[in-house]
Symmetry: C2
């Protein structure tokens, strides 16, 4: 497979796949013309990374998860720890965003949103 096929089948942009090679996730063979040539195993790996990324795992998390994935002696506790840490960070982000949402939607409700200059949003931001 060339990079375009892998891009289509994995759902990742070709640019991203090249980037993943750069940072050492995959090492595809090269044809005589210099083209990358991927096998099913690499496609599978890329799809794995894509799914992990979509669940919020960092690149470094993906590295660890892949290592565990390929280690048939792994302890599921190690995987679970990484996942729990990620979940904690997701929850923290949600909490932050919810706080923003609360304040902001309140201010928006207060604001008339017409041609007049009076504005509770700016008033709040300008509060000493």
């Amino acid at each position: 497979m060339n990079i375009g096929d892998v891009a289509e089948r994995s759902g990742l942009p070709a640019k991203t796949i090249r980037y993943y090679e750069d940072i050492g996730f995959i090492k595809p063979r090269r044809g005589l013309n210099g083209y990358r040539h991927f096998d099913e195993k690499e496609l599978h790996k890329l799809a794995f990374i894509g799914r992990a990324r979509s669940l919020g795992f960092t690149i470094e998390d993906c590295r660890s998860l892949l290592a565990l994935y390929e280690d048939k002696e792994r302890a599921s506790a190690d995987v679970k720890d990484i996942a729990k840490q990620n979940l904690k960070e997701i929850d923290a982000k949600i909490a932050d965003l919810k706080a923003m949402h609360a304040t902001l939607s309140h201010l928006i409700d207060e604001c008339a949103g017409d041609h007049r200059p009076d504005c509770p949003i700016l008033k709040n931001l300008g509060q000493t």
Copy 2:
């Protein structure tokens, strides 16, 4: 005021204040020794930006909000539009994170998290 005082009073790190000068938010005078010298107005502006940032507004949003803040002829509708756009983005992020949370916490619950290699989290990520 020197930058350290402004940092303390605005809650922004000195580094960030210098960065905000770089990108044109403020233009503090300089003493003969080269030190930045801030007045209350600039402190106020920085605090304004800090609050806007903490509500999730981008730097470019802050630029617009600041311009509106200083424009006594502004229409509150313009402010409200920016805020509503930001709120939309916040909501989108929350939705994304909640989807991640749902999937991930489900997988975590399924995972025994012991010494055995069997792991639903990896199984899911590796699904073709």
